[in-house]
C-alpha cells in the first residue's frame, strides 16, 4: 500500500448506508456501508459473486438502490440516480463499443456524447497509443487488449470525477497495465476518486490507498475512513 495520504477534511465522495440492490429478485448487495474520501484510490476485494460488479454499477447510477441511503458526488442516488451518470466513468466487462465503427469514430462519439471537446478525444487516443494506424481500424478487428485500450480512451476523454473500474488490468499487456496505473494516479492528482476491482493483487495493493473487502453483498473489512 502507498504511504497513507492525510485525508483532506472535505465531504466524502461516496457515502453508503445499508444499501441493498437487487438483480431481479436476488439481493446482490445486502446492506453495504461504505465511505470514500475524495482523491483516494480504493481497491475492492472479494470472491467471484461477492457483489463487486453490482456495487460499481450501483455507484454509477445504473442499478436502483432498493433500500438504504446512498450519496455519490453529492447526488442522492435514491432520489435521482440519473444525475450522477455523466460525472462518473464506468469500465465494465463489456466494452460499450460499436463493432463496425473505427477506433477513432468510437472515441470521438462517446467523447462528444459526454460533452467533451474534440481535443479531449484526440489526447485520449494519443495517450492510449491508438493515434497511429489503429485509429482507422474497425473495432471488430481489434484484439481483446486493443478493445480494452479503446474503451479506456473513451473513459479518459470524458474526464470523470469518479472512476469505477471493473478489472481494468484484465486483458492488457505489461505496458498497458503500467499505463492504467499511471493514468489513475494522474486522475487522483487532478482531483478525481477511483474505485477498482482487480485480480492483479500485488499491483493493485501498491496502487491503492485503502482496501475494502466485500463478501455476500456486505463490507466485511475496510482499511479506510469508514473503518471502525
Amino acid at each position: 500500500m502507498r504511504p497513507s495520504v492525510p485525508v483532506p477534511p472535505t465531504e466524502a465522495v461516496i457515502r453508503l448506508r445499508g444499501v441493498v440492490a437487487l438483480l431481479g429478485r436476488f439481493p446482490a448487495l445486502a446492506g453495504i456501508d461504505l465511505e470514500v474520501a475524495p482523491r483516494r484510490i480504493v481497491l475492492l476485494r472479494g470472491a467471484n459473486g461477492a457483489g463487486k460488479t453490482t456495487l460499481l454499477r450501483t455507484l454509477a447510477g445504473l442499478i436502483a438502490v432498493a433500500e438504504g441511503q446512498a450519496t455519490v458526488l453529492g447526488v442522492d442516488l435514491v432520489a435521482d440516480r440519473r444525475a450522477v451518470r455523466h460525472r462518473v466513468g464506468l469500465l465494465g466487462h463489456a466494452t460499450g463499443l460499436y463493432d463496425d465503427l473505427t477506433v477513432g469514430d468510437n472515441v470521438r462519439f462517446w467523447a462528444r456524447a459526454a460533452g467533451a471537446e474534440a481535443d479531449d478525444a484526440e489526447q485520449a487516443l494519443v495517450r492510449l497509443g491508438l493515434a497511429g494506424r489503429l485509429r482507422s481500424v474497425a473495432v471488430s478487428r481489434l484484439s481483446a487488449g486493443q478493445r480494452r485500450r479503446t474503451s479506456l480512451a473513451c473513459l479518459i476523454a470524458r474526464r470523470p470525477e469518479l472512476w469505477l473500474l471493473d478489472e481494468p488490468h484484465a486483458g492488457l499487456d505489461q505496458d498497458g497495465r503500467d499505463l492504467v496505473d499511471t493514468i489513475l494516479r494522474e486522475a487522483t492528482a487532478a482531483g478525481a476518486t477511483v474505485l477498482l476491482s482487480s485480480h492483479e493483487l500485488d499491483r493493485s495493493l501498491q496502487l491503492a490507498d485503502e482496501v475494502v473487502t466485500i463478501a455476500g453483498g456486505v463490507v466485511v473489512a475496510d482499511t479506510g475512513m469508514s473503518a471502525p
Partner: protein
C-alpha cells in the same frame, strides 16, 4: 435534445456507411420481394399493375423491419445500452436520432424501390407532389413507431419474432393510408389521397410524442 439527436443520427449513418448492411442486404431483399410478387401475380393479366401501390408498401414495410432490427441490434451489443445511459445523452434525443437515421435509410430505399417498380412493373408515375408527401409522412410513421416498439422488444431472446407481432398491426393504418394515397396519385385524382396523408400525419405525431416521453423509461430498466 436536438444536438444529441444529430449526434446519434450521425453515428448511425456513419455505421451504415462503414458496414453497408442496409445497402448490401436490405436493398437487395426489397428488390427481391418485388420480383417475387411478379412471380406470384401473373404480370400479363394486369393484376400486378393494379396491385402496384400495395405491393410497393408491403415491400417497404418488410424491408423496414430488417432495417429496424439492424438499427436496434447495434445498441444491444456488448454493453452499449449501459454506455448510452451513462453518456448523459437525452433519451428523447437518442430516440429522435435513431428515428432520423432509420428514416433516412428508408427514404433512400423508397426512391430506389420506386425506380424498381417503374422499371419492372412499367408503372407510369404521376402526381409527384402527393407521392413525395406520402413518402415523407409514411416514412416518419414507420421509423417512429418502429423505433419505439423496437426498443420494447430489444435485448430479449425473442426480439426477432416479437417486433413483427407488435409492429405490423400498429402499422396497418399506415399501410392502408400510403397505399390509397399512391393509388389516388397514380390514378390522377390526388384530392382523394390527401385525407390519408392527414391520417398518417396524426399517426406520426402520436408516435414521435410517445417516443420522446417514453424512451427514457424504456432505457431505464436493466
Amino acid at each position: 435534445m436536438l444536438r444529441d439527436a444529430l449526434l446519434i443520427a450521425g453515428k448511425d449513418l456513419r455505421l451504415e456507411l462503414r458496414s453497408r448492411v442496409a445497402l448490401n442486404q436490405v436493398l437487395p431483399f426489397a428488390l427481391l420481394v418485388l420480383v417475387l410478387f411478379a412471380f406470384a401475380l401473373d404480370p400479363d393479366r394486369g393484376l400486378l399493375a393494379r396491385a402496384t401501390p400495395g405491393l410497393y408498401w408491403v415491400a417497404v414495410l418488410f424491408s423496414a423491419l430488417l432495417a429496424l432490427q439492424r438499427s436496434l441490434s447495434v445498441e444491444s451489443a456488448d454493453g452499449n445500452r449501459d454506455a448510452l445511459r451513462l453518456s448523459g445523452l437525452d433519451p428523447a434525443g437518442i430516440f429522435l436520432g435513431k428515428v432520423l437515421a432509420v428514416a433516412t435509410q428508408l427514404a433512400v430505399l423508397e426512391v430506389l424501390l420506386g425506380v424498381g417498380v417503374a422499371v419492372l412493373y412499367t408503372t407510369r408515375i404521376t402526381g409527384w407532389v402527393l407521392l413525395a408527401v406520402t413518402c415523407v409522412v409514411a416514412t416518419a410513421s414507420i421509423a417512429a413507431a418502429g423505433t419505439l416498439f423496437g426498443v420494447v422488444a430489444a435485448g430479449l431472446r425473442v426480439r426477432e419474432t416479437l417486433l413483427p407481432l407488435l409492429l405490423l398491426p400498429v402499422l396497418a393504418p399506415v399501410l392502408i393510408g400510403a397505399t390509397r394515397a399512391f393509388e389516388a396519385a397514380l390514378a390522377g385524382s390526388p384530392s382523394e389521397g390527401w385525407p390519408w396523408v392527414g391520417l398518417m400525419g396524426v399517426f406520426a405525431s402520436l408516435y414521435i410524442v410517445a417516443g420522446v416521453f417514453g424512451f427514457g423509461p424504456l432505457l431505464e430498466e436493466s
